[in-house]
Symmetry: C2
Subunit: 241 residues, 2 copies
């Protein structure tokens, strides 16, 4: 698969009229930048550095992103295998949606893999189509949890107005059997961390035990109560604070 990637990126770059070399050392070292993103050292960024567009494209379309996701899911499945379930049906695992259950790569490939500033309108248009593919590694964890009787809570920064398209997209991609899908109320004004933390707190208040929490953004997994164990999926494309 790797050998197919360079021409694809080259074609996209011609299409988009943008520059960027693979792993460019002019300016930021793209591999160090990506490590910094994943370790939460690089924060509040608006875009992928222009010189890293090719690097991130290669990462996303080549085997790198999939391989990195697989490692995270392998760790999550080992963790699930290691915990003792109470059998009372009160254990839940919290999943984010974008870049966690569903992949917006088809959209971001047209946006310089995050090198182009976020366009709210065009992303909404894309999301309405309910066509985002599943992330296969996450699906493996999802199905594992269904099989062992851990309940699935889907918790997203998407708004209530997007509920129909979101649920349609999840079902089309074979995600089902969840306990609940929680979206941001239309009038919610706070940060993602505030919203997601308060929803997790409500789960605890209702007697659930959050055995784990998985997302692609640090804002998915920071903020008390975090859950007994957190998993950070890779996302070099964009940042949500």
């Amino acid at each position: 698969m790797e050998e197919a990637v360079a021409p694809m990126i080259h074609a996209l770059r011609l299409l988009l009229g943008s520059g960027g070399q693979l792993g460019s050392r002019a300016g930021v070292a793209c591999d160090s930048w990506r490590l910094g993103v994943e370790a939460h050292n690089v924060r509040d960024r608006k875009t992928v550095p222009a010189s890293c567009e090719g690097y991130v494209g290669h990462c996303m379309l080549g085997g790198h992103y999939h391989r990195d996701s697989k490692l995270v899911i392998d760790q999550a499945i080992s963790y699930i295998d290691s915990i003792k379930l109470s059998g009372n049906g009160k254990e839940v695992l919290v999943f984010d949606i974008d870049e966690t259950t569903l992949s917006n790569l088809p959209y971001y490939a047209t946006q310089g893999f995050g090198a182009t500033p976020y366009n709210w309108m065009s992303f909404q248009e894309y999301a309405r189509q309910a066509s985002a593919p599943a992330l296969p590694e996450t699906k493996r964890l999802y199905n594992k949890l269904l099989s062992v009787g851990i309940k699935l809570v889907i918790l997203t920064g998407r708004r209530e107005v997007q509920r129909t398209a979101t649920v349609t997209n999840l079902r089309r991609q074979g995600f089902s059997g969840w306990m609940t899908v929680l979206l941001k109320p239309a009038d919610f004004k706070g940060s993602t961390v505030t919203f997601k933390s308060s929803e997790r707190q409500k789960l605890l208040d209702a007697g659930y035990i959050i055995v784990g929490n998985i997302g692609d953004q640090w804002s998915d997994i920071l903020g008390t109560p975090e859950g007994a164990r957190t998993f950070k999926l890779p996302d070099p494309m964009y940042y949500i604070g």
Copy 2:
């Protein structure tokens, strides 16, 4: 520098009689494993996977580790430049020691870069020599803080019995002017997170403001109060829970 690395690792491998290919795909994908370590997905590990010894060696001796550290320090310096100092002398930044201010790479290079299980006795012997070199990027941050009047607090999991060798080593490497060096009391029984959190709490109780906190382990920077901003330096070699 990169071209000098492969023969060095090869020589070390012959010396140590150990295996391991660069970025081996037999077993774990070493680059994904490293990303998983830095994003706190891989936890409670005892050693570097045997198949990744060469990969980690290359990372540490080649430019990779230095480049990754530089990015973290660049972020930290940008952050320091962005904050408004009160000028009352109450702002502190907390530094870890091992793999943060001082590098134990000369020792770990003889231990398969972490692929060999931790040997408490031999590490103590090495630390007693007070010969660990400074991490140059951290030193840049350290000197920056001195120049702007932020106080330096050194907080380590090393024990009080190691104080003399530790302070000697820091001074020899040009670290000085700190406010305090805090080591674990001989009889401290709790975890590193517990120890470090409680020392940070004491700083707050004494009226200090922790503007930042930097370490190579997640256990350096997790646990309330974390500090206003945290920075995770890379460390593929070992894990402290």
